[in-house]
């Protein structure tokens, strides 16, 4: 086994890693047999509906459920009174954390509604239409309060307070100051004032980015059965069954052992399916009725009431010296938390200047309450907003210095040993290799011609995470291995995990039968998030295979009556060291009964050797100067995967991240009116790109192995969404000479920018 970076460099003789076998869940998903949460049906099952706030900010004066309860077919109605009280305690969710009082008040409003669509009550009835009719019959009397919709408004001293007891924690200390600002943190490296004083050229800009949705196609859903012996089973769509179990047990005030969470197949998550919404409601409604209760959100509910990712206001300033080296950087990053604390300025701050070696950095981060749904992770949460600021300033620096933007990035690149402003010193990373690959690409070498066309470059970083994973595997007598693991399969992780087990055992990926198990059937496993699954659960599968290998060596030794030291295992074959005896993996698997019984492997990991990921994007666009519409002509993405276990999935992640990033860049935004009501809670008016809006996205996988993983794997899922907004903004500037500082760069916004540059007649 290779243990150091150097051991991997040049390794090309993997048998399974790096190949593209048929995915294990492919047939079921292609023919529609895969089971999603909405497919669940059970005898006696009731259907739930949620009453939601029509206001963005209001005090609940009274809730009258009597008319709903009197409606034929209604079996139960609940409000927050039906949820146990909670302590003021923080629960770690793997990606993000939740205060339990806030989680409870988010699941069902506790005295106050904090956003349009905030759940107020829930109903269970014999069919969904009756449940919805009953929900309409619940009278809620509100005292409407002034909504606070942007971080700038919310940070004003006289701003209405969303949570009356919220005080600001500043630099780790509770200030006792009541405010919508929940957190202020700071990262400091070197002496930023001196750095700017030494700079030859300094550029400072302000940026606004809209609240955006992850855009998973499957709405949140949950079915719960609270049985008479107080055992609770929950079937749901989640990125982490154990995270759901933990949250649900806390909210319901029962031990975790009483809750079993069965993760169904997932129709996308992107960070949005970690916090719970419906699960406790379905559970309490089931407890009240003794029957299973199913709840499925409508698209409108998904958009109004589940966590989008944070909009932000960022001030960014960067300075370069005469030699074109970045000498100082400053960022003020204020991110929306939504109605409850917890936001994404912190990860944004870890990423904002991460691709560069900058000696003097100061970053101030603020997480701020606004009357929007409590924000949630979204694919490298916080980093896209951050890169939009820093990477467009870098483009402006390059323009003023008259240097090639990729050469500038190469010259200033972070590398092994560079310290990031938030503390860590990089191990071996692949940023330089990504920039060099971009520089030598056919795309970059091809000149872009034509009026109103432009090319933009941007870099991105995401740190990736490790966290807990478990795997168990049993050897079958036909030479296959059944693998059980706890990571929701997003993007083909069943297969990329199984391949790491297969590589060790010298068997084919198809000879591994991977299965995602419920919380009673496998050890604790954190969420599929943070680009961790192929890295960490794959590592568990690798360890699990080593465990199996060791046991099989013992069996061979027993069979051949030799010492285990004299058994050699290579390329799927066991042999005695004198080569007189050999058995294939399959042959030995068929002899387990006669050598001592079944063989199972198991492993749990909590790895620390996470390898950060870098990406570079090249975007060619054309602006219709009469309408402000941006057409994407050609896009390339270059990304360091460490080792691409399954290259097609890595390419899929790269293309998916770029596609979502293009949507974020051009059209996506939660459109709140002045009253704080969401006016575009549908996928018609929340404009994600369709396939007609995207070109083929060209991918270049760079492989600089992560020294912290047995196969050199880095996470790949998140970083590709980081550069697109900045790359497209830079391309727009190259095309038509306007610097866009707000997201989205929708046609109306580009038109306005063109008008202020040229005057309206200049464009017609």
């Amino acid at each position: 086994m290779a243990t150091k970076t150097e051991d991997y460099l040049g390794i090309t003789d993997y048998k399974v890693i790096g190949t593209r076998p048929i995915r294990h869940d492919g047939v079921d998903k292609v023919i529609g047999r895969a089971k999603y949460g909405a497919d669940i049906d059970m005898a006696g099952m009731l259907h739930g509906a949620v009453v939601r706030s029509p206001h963005a900010h209001a005090r609940i004066k009274s809730i009258d459920t009597s008319k709903a309860e009197a409606l034929a077919g209604v079996k139960a109605v609940i409000t927050v009174e039906d949820l146990p009280l909670q302590e003021d305690k923080i629960e770690d969710l793997g990606e993000g954390a939740a205060n339990l009082q806030h989680l409870r008040a988010n699941v069902l409003a506790d005295g106050k509604v904090l956003y349009h669509g905030h759940a107020v009550a829930a109903v269970a009835a014999t069919d969904i239409h009756t449940a919805q009719e009953a929900a309409d019959l619940i009278d809620v009397e509100y005292e409407v309060l002034q909504p606070v919709l942007t971080v700038q408004e919310a940070m004003k001293e006289d701003a209405p307070l969303l949570l009356e007891n919220q005080t600001t924690e500043s630099l780790g200390e509770d200030t006792g100051q009541k405010s919508n600002v929940c957190t202020h943190f700071r990262h400091e490296l070197g002496d930023v004032e001196r750095g700017f004083a030494e700079a030859e050229l300094v550029i400072e800009r302000e940026f606004d980015t809209a609240t955006v949705h992850q855009g998973y196609i499957e709405p949140q859903n949950a079915t719960a059965l609270w049985s008479a012996d107080d055992q609770i089973t929950v079937w749901c769509s989640t990125q982490g069954a154990f995270t759901v179990r933990e949250q649900a047990a806390q909210i319901l005030d029962v031990p975790v052992s009483q809750v079993k969470v069965v993760p169904m197949e997932i129709g996308g998550g992107f960070g949005g399916k970690i916090r719970i919404y419906l699960e406790p409601l379905a559970a309490v409604l089931s407890k009240k009725t003794g029957r299973p209760v199913k709840m499925v959100m409508s698209r409108t509910e998904v958009l109004q009431a589940t966590g989008p990712t944070a909009g932000s206001f960022i001030k960014c300033k960067m300075g370069v010296d005469k030699a074109g080296k970045i000498v100082a950087a400053y960022a003020y990053m204020a991110y929306e938390s939504g109605g409850f604390p917890g936001s994404w300025a912190a990860p944004g701050a870890m990423c904002i200047f991460a691709p560069y070696n900058i000696p003097n950095v100061l970053i101030d981060g603020y997480e701020v309450l606004v009357n929007k749904p409590q924000t949630m992770a979204y694919r490298a949460p916080g980093a896209t907003n951050a890169a939009f600021a820093s990477e467009t300033i870098i483009d402006e620096l390059c323009e003023q210095l008259d240097v090639d933007p990729l050469e500038f990035r190469l010259k200033n690149s972070a590398r092994e040993g560079t310290r990031r402003a938030d503390g860590p010193v990089y191990p071996r990373i692949g940023n330089e290799e990504c920039v060099k690959t971009a520089l030598s690409s056919e795309h970059y070498a091809t000149q872009l011609n034509g009026k109103n066309r432009g090319r933009g470059i941007a870099s991105g970083f995401w740190f990736n995470v490790g966290l807990k994973s478990s795997a168990a595997a049993s050897v079958n007598s036909d030479g296959t291995v059944s693998l059980v693991e706890g990571s929701t399969d997003i993007g083909g992780t069943r297969t990329s995990i199984a391949m790491q087990l297969a590589e060790v055992l010298g068997i084919r990926a198809e000879d591994v039968k991977p299965q995602v198990a419920d919380t009673d059937s496998i050890g604790d496993t954190d969420v599929t998030g943070g680009s961790r699954t192929t890295f960490a659960t794959g590592w568990a599968a690798y360890q699990c295979a080593l465990d199996i290998k060791e046991q099989l060596i013992e069996r061979a030794a027993k069979l051949w009556e030799i010492s285990t030291d004299d058994v050699v295992f290579d390329d799927g074959t066991f042999s005695s060291s004198d080569s007189s005896k050999t058995l294939s993996f399959k042959e030995l698997a068929g002899m387990l009964d006669e050598t001592g019984g079944p063989v199972m492997g198991r492993a749990t990991v909590n790895p620390s050797g996470v390898g950060g990921a870098f990406a570079v994007m090249i975007a060619d666009i054309e602006v219709d100067t009469e309408t402000g519409k941006v057409e994407i002509l050609r896009v390339s993405v270059i990304q360091d995967a460490g080792k691409a276990v399954y290259p097609s999935y890595v390419e899929g992640q790269m293309q998916g991240g770029i596609a979502q990033g293009i949507g974020w860049a051009l059209n996506e935004e939660y459109a709140y009116n002045r009253d704080g009501l969401l006016t575009n809670a549908s996928l018609l008016d929340y404009r994600m790109p369709t396939c007609l809006d995207l070109p083929m996205i060209e991918t270049h996988i760079v492989e600089v192995p992560n020294p912290g993983h047995p196969y050199g794997v880095r996470g790949v899922g998140e970083v590709p969404i980081v550069p697109p907004a900045a790359a497209i903004a830079n391309a727009i500037y190259d095309a038509v000479g306007v610097r866009m500082t707000n997201l989205p760069m929708s046609p109306g916004e580009v038109l306005k920018a063109l008008w202020s540059k040229n005057g309206e007649n200049g464009t017609a």
Partner: protein, 291 residues
């Protein structure tokens, strides 16, 4: 969704008698792409009246003398798949082939698009510039209304209680004529127009001078608008008369009285009325030249 009765009358007369029988709130079903979505969002009806069994409402036919007859319940994809429409009414292909998705086009109808009367509807401008007539059945028999006079406000039309739209009659295109429709949306499909426009022109036999012209714009007023001044600015002018085309665009901008919403601002929509009017006129002239 609440419970409601469903009827599928076999004739216009049967539909009229069901409509006048005092059945409470009636929802008229053609493709259902608006109605069913509205029911899911809480609209309450007592009776759903399905037009798809009425021959006149599903017919799609062409006659050299009377022109094209489009039954109100004829799907968009049937319309743009009809060879006569493809060869002689390309502006109808323009609009019917860009509404929603292919699935929506297989269900949604021009009649429904008219009766739903969204200010941003994509079929009215083309239907209007082609000089079409709406045929409406009611308790007192059939009446006809010019397409541009059909709309009275957002979600509102000239249809009276007890009436329904049976078909739309589109005249046979004149020789040397052309028509064109386009809309502006931020994406390239699956979107509601921020603004849209259609133009039709009839050229002289040399195809150098505009003899007749009509321009209509949408999503920029409470109803689709026939901009008479825009058409008038082009009549008698050379096809390459930039000043005349600019005058037509100015007329559209002047006629537009849009609102600001999450799809676009007043300024953007007024501006787009001019941009799209120009592009529609240029497209119509090009088609007339190629006719």
């Amino acid at each position: 969704m609440n419970a409601f009765d469903y009827e599928a009358p076999q004739s216009v007369d049967e539909a009229i008698s069901l409509l006048s029988a005092g059945n409470g709130n009636v929802g008229i079903l053609a493709g259902g792409t608006d109605l069913i979505a509205q029911l899911k969002e809480g609209r309450k009806i007592d009776l759903m009246l399905d037009l798809k069994q009425i021959p006149e409402a599903t017919a799609l036919s062409f006659d050299e003398d009377s022109g094209l007859s489009i039954g109100a319940a004829t799907s968009c994809s049937k319309i743009y798949g009809y060879d006569v429409v493809q060869s002689r009414y390309p502006a109808l292909v323009d609009c019917t082939s860009l509404i929603g998705s292919i699935q929506i086009q297989n269900r949604g109808t021009v009649g429904g698009n008219f009766c739903n009367a969204s200010p941003a509807a994509d079929t009215p401008p083309a239907v209007i510039v082609l000089g079409s007539t709406c045929r409406i059945a009611g308790p007192n028999g059939m009446r006809e209304v010019a397409a541009e006079d059909f709309f009275t406000g957002p979600g509102q039309s000239v249809l009276q209680s007890g009436e329904f739209l049976v078909s739309i009659q589109v005249p046979t295109p004149a020789a040397n004529s052309g028509a064109f429709f386009l809309r502006f949306i931020p994406r390239n499909e699956m979107d509601i127009a921020v603004a849209n426009a259609a133009a039709s022109v009839v050229l002289d036999s040399e195809k150098t001078t505009i003899q007749e012209a009509r321009v209509a714009i949408g999503a920029v007023a409470p109803t689709p608008l026939l901009v008479a001044d825009a058409g008038a600015a082009l009549v008698g002018k050379a096809v390459d008369d930039e000043d005349a085309i600019e005058a037509a665009c100015a007329a559209s901008r002047a006629a537009a009285r849009p609102i600001s919403d999450m799809r676009g601002t007043i300024e953007q929509r007024i501006h787009l009325s001019g941009v799209l009017t120009r592009r529609a006129i240029q497209g119509a002239i090009q088609r007339a030249k190629e006719s």
